[in-house]
Amino acid sequence: MKKLVVLGLTGLILGGVLLSASFAGEIDVLLETLVQKDIITPFEAQIIKDETKQQVAEEISQGTHPTLPSWVQKMKLKGDLRVRYQYERDASDTDAKERGRVRYRLGLMTKAGDVDVGAGIASGGGDPRSTNQTFSNTFETGDLRLDYAYVNYVPPYAKDVELVAGKFERKKYLWAPTDMLWDGDINPTGGSLHAQGKILNNSGMALIDNTDYIFNTGVWVMDENSHSDKGAPFLYYTQAGLEYKEEKMDAKLAATYYAFDNVQNRTLDYSAETNTGATTALEYDYDSFGYSAEFGVREAFGGLPLQIDDRIAFFADYIVNIDRNIEQRHGWAFGMKLGHQKVKKQGTWQLKYQFVNLQRDAFLDTFPDSDRRSGETDVISHEVILNYALKKNIIFGIDYYQNDRIKRSEDLDHLLQVDLVVKF
């Protein structure tokens, strides 16, 4: 009876306080003391810890824990801090440009009823392709801006589908294996749909094993309809593809159609000014087709001192402006990655090479990676990236670009970035 009372009390205490890691540590000590005094067995102590941990995690996940409001229990924070040394030099430069930069991002996600709501802030100015704050102007203070704010909904009758509206992170809603077209910092505004799941036959069985269909579509709003200008630019896109995944091999293929409205005959904010007419009035409408692919193999180097989750992957992107009257209308990128798929846990690493050839009017110059000649088109580039996790979520990275022009005769430039990233 005494044992039952002690077990019950211990369980209650644990249930109430395990939200706090420090309390959890104290409870471990309490349970150990009870074990040493032969009041409970070591396994009873372990069961109490395991069961309570799972119960509290379930309650918090479902928002049913009695101590906190549901939306608080379902709240998740994520963020990262990056400190960067950057070296830039054109062949004609006498001296290189060197600078220090910092990036900070913080996001908060929660559930409100049936929908997910998320918002994030980031350092940097208004440029959608950069969240860096440069060390300059005698310790000048930096800006924090709204990086994203969205509402996401999964219809209960179609669990494969996610709908999002607001300003949101792009990657789930438009996949691209390279940053030839889309800088990783760009969080579009508007609405999108992402769907992924098995292709089923009439009896509900998967038609192809280990294979998902992917379908993305959306309307992205690039500017507002003002009183004087009702022709706001929009992007409508549709992407369809397949993803194959098994233990030692994976592949992803997708085709994308981009349709821009009201882009022709206007200028766009944050343009890199390389498209034809970018500084006066854009000459084309930039409707285009894209094709993307990635193919990965694990354990391809059985005899080498690499680990089981080491992976080698090849990827490629291709874009073509559908206006056949344009001379410079193609873009392509390809590359390979070697190492771990995610660089997160201590000792994980990834080496990546990427080649990009993006002709002048293949795509709008407002979106490509800003580190490749400030996001310009008419660019040919080699990039090598090495990332290594010094500790869990602490990543050291080196990123080198060699960029050149396709048509215009400007100098080859070199860009080196040395990063320390802490994720949380």
Binding site: Q46, I47, Q54, A57, K159, D309
Partner: protein
Amino acid sequence: MKFIVNIILCFALLCAWTQTGYADMLQIKGSDTLINLVQRLAEVYMEKNPGKFIAVTGGGSGTGISALINGKCDIADASRGMKAKEVDQAASRGVTAKRVVIAMDGLSVIVHPDNTVKKFTIDELGKIFRGEVTNWSELGGKDASITLYGRQSNSGTFVFFQEQVLKGDYSAKMNRMNGNAQIVEAVKNDSSGIGYVGVGYVKDASGLTVAEVAARAGADYASPLDKYDVKSGKYPIARPLNQYVNGSPSGDVRAFIAFELSAEGQNIVEEEGFFQIPDEYTELNKKLGF
């Protein structure tokens, strides 16, 4: 016009979707520590139940739990408990993970027979695997650098040892091996090596020493090979070997687990080098009707 075309495409796709289907074969996936044991249990079960098919694969506890959460298996073998993040992922996908304990393991610390250091406290093991003690002479042994052999991060054994012994990060110098058998072979061939494996991989193994472990300095040392030390919890890194299922098990899943927990199943557990479950975990299993 483009907008309307996109909306029509979305609607057409939405109308076409239905839910995922499942194959008839019972799929079990997860812990490499459990794989030999569960394969043997499955073989005997299938012999006794013609027409029943069970596929058992490894990949690590994390892989098994992930497969259960994603609806890719019926039973996840796990040599550790579920992490809060996994519980959260399960809940978000409508999976209610329930645990059954099918065997006990004395997680065994192994060294080469030539090594004179054959007893460790938990604190000493933590310092060794965190990389704070790097030479056997610091523990009264020969003057030789310690070579560490452990598992990869998707392994439940990796996580359990980290939580119960290291309480910190593994040394970056630890060799991360694919499985228990690889660790056993590595330590057999390395007179300065130390590793940790499930007891089922060392019970009858020759060419290595299974170390005794004490919970703290001054406490009694205990061996994972002594079933009473393991079943009583005196051996400080004894652990339950779990299976997770989605919700209260029924049908073929329930029938197979019932067989694992039966006297015949538990005899197979011992034949495979592990230990039968103690009373505490028997009581726990009763919550699921076993």
